[in-house]
Symmetry: C2
Subunit: 330 residues, 2 copies
Amino acid sequence: MPTIKEVALLAGVSTATVSRAMMNPQQVAEKTRRKVEAAIAEVGYSPNAIARNLRTSESKTIVVIIPDIENMFFAKIVRGIQTIAQQQGYKVLLGDTVHNATLANDYLELVRSKQADGVISLTAELPKVLQHGTSMPMVMACEYFPDFPIPTVRIDNQAAAYQAVKYLLELGHKQIAYISGPLDNPICIARSAGYRQAMQEAGYSINELAKEEGDFSFHSGHAAFERLHRQYKMSALFCFNDMMALGAMRSAISLGLKVPDDLSIVGMDDLLFSQYTDPQLTTIMQPQTLIGETAMQILIKILNAKTVHQDNVLQTQLLVRSSSRRYQKL
Amino acid sequence: MPTIKEVALLAGVSTATVSRAMMNPQQVAEKTRRKVEAAIAEVGYSPNAIARNLRTSESKTIVVIIPDIENMFFAKIVRGIQTIAQQQGYKVLLGDTVHNATLANDYLELVRSKQADGVISLTAELPKVLQHGTSMPMVMACEYFPDFPIPTVRIDNQAAAYQAVKYLLELGHKQIAYISGPLDNPICIARSAGYRQAMQEAGYSINELAKEEGDFSFHSGHAAFERLHRQYKMSALFCFNDMMALGAMRSAISLGLKVPDDLSIVGMDDLLFSQYTDPQLTTIMQPQTLIGETAMQILIKILNAKTVHQDNVLQTQLLVRSSSRRYQKL
DNA sequence: GTGAAAGCGCTAACAG
DNA sequence: CTGTTAGCGCTTTCAC
């Protein structure tokens, strides 16, 4: 790999001039600049970013921590992040934690060690790893932690779940079950609260058997429904995300149930495929692209000025499709 | 951020000793090491990887370049890569190029600048960017370039397409159309050849109207089918990947066609959702996890010993499901 | 407008 | 076993 020194030699200038020609072109004479550019092209020089970062303590790179790259929900969010990042000259690196806190920590390491300037976390694995109260430019998207004072962009999880369950109640359903994500996850706690709020408002008691736990994956939704089906007689099901809803729907169908005739299903997220399955999935849509864009905008503000915007709450929307219908006696 | 100097000062040793205590603990006296470790903990020191990499030219990190994070096909491959990487102590960073050669180049930059040791490319954007014949530890997965002597892990694209089309021919179909990815993409050229081979063997001529181009995305498959439907009367359709096949299937259905009664569809990849759509998608399965694992294993060998394993070809398999059926006169 | 020189934080000889 | 020294490749004062 050619270095700046070789370019300088060939162009007959000092390394400082070569550096300036790249960083502040207007500071260097037209003629000199052209010589430098020619030399750069000739040797095929490309600056060593790592040396540059070491010097400037800035990498113009951010890292996005994703819990599960197989969950399509995150793809659109990443795209939103990338759009803004690119506009502002930031590169984005993705880290998939496979729901593993140690890996999440490795990615945080990139920021500590100056390989990246900041991080957007889409995962809930972080607090286990943030005991040191380590402070770094960071924004949390989707997930959130009441105890950690980290700028967050998210939806109102309790209200969203409330809306989903309320919708099912209005259709006349009484036996409404739900499949949650990990029970200790704050967004799941909030969504559970939304479920309870809606049920209690309608005057129904909460049946512990009406709940099963998954991990947000398709397969966990499939498995959770099988357990649920054995233990609780329901006419409607609310799943905490679409991947699980889709898994549960498949499970229901293969158990011989008709959706929505025997079972209404409502999910949450609105994935690309949610509208193309059979039946199409009714769901609470999350503005995925906007979540990503907002998160990146906040991170850039933090990087520039240390301004902290706490807790941005974005709007969701109920999308009624064909996986849900009015309750009918069987 | 505390530096090694502060640790050294606090521990009452030189920076070299601190460094050794971290890199080669056995080289430093038990007692000294303990002092150093205590100092590290006290100031909350964490080494600046960027300075370290600048010095050692090694990062124990590899980068995976992905053309489109929204295409689920890549998720499983990435998981395969991660499994092996983790076993061998490598971190993996993901870079989504959004089909953009400039971004692809940025990620290559990570290797040139020693922020990563090697790269696995799942994208076809590279050659445009590799004019300089730049050599770096790299393996190509899925895509390949006949002209570039880069270790590759892939399937036999022509044979796979041949198998798909042959299958449709055996079902009695004669009017078989196909939706390709970008026409200048080598794997698409190979798959087109497989299509032609099968058609010609069966004694059918090639109709230029029986072909449309997409970009491997769901939406492009949807749009391509609409064009195809206007210009060519077909009883069967082969799509170069499942995302497009799923898009085409939706398009067909919304145009009032029955799948498979009016139109048989065969895809390629075998995504998680391919078996859960209605109808379930017949497809040529690619061993995604294995592709990822193999690619990473090869990269590690290159990193260790410069051994080059050219062109590993993995097996595919036709999965017959319900989106295809025997031809019937209408 | 340009060059000389210092140094970002770290590791790796080389001495001792 | 440990300290001293010399850079890795780059940017950035500070002079000229």
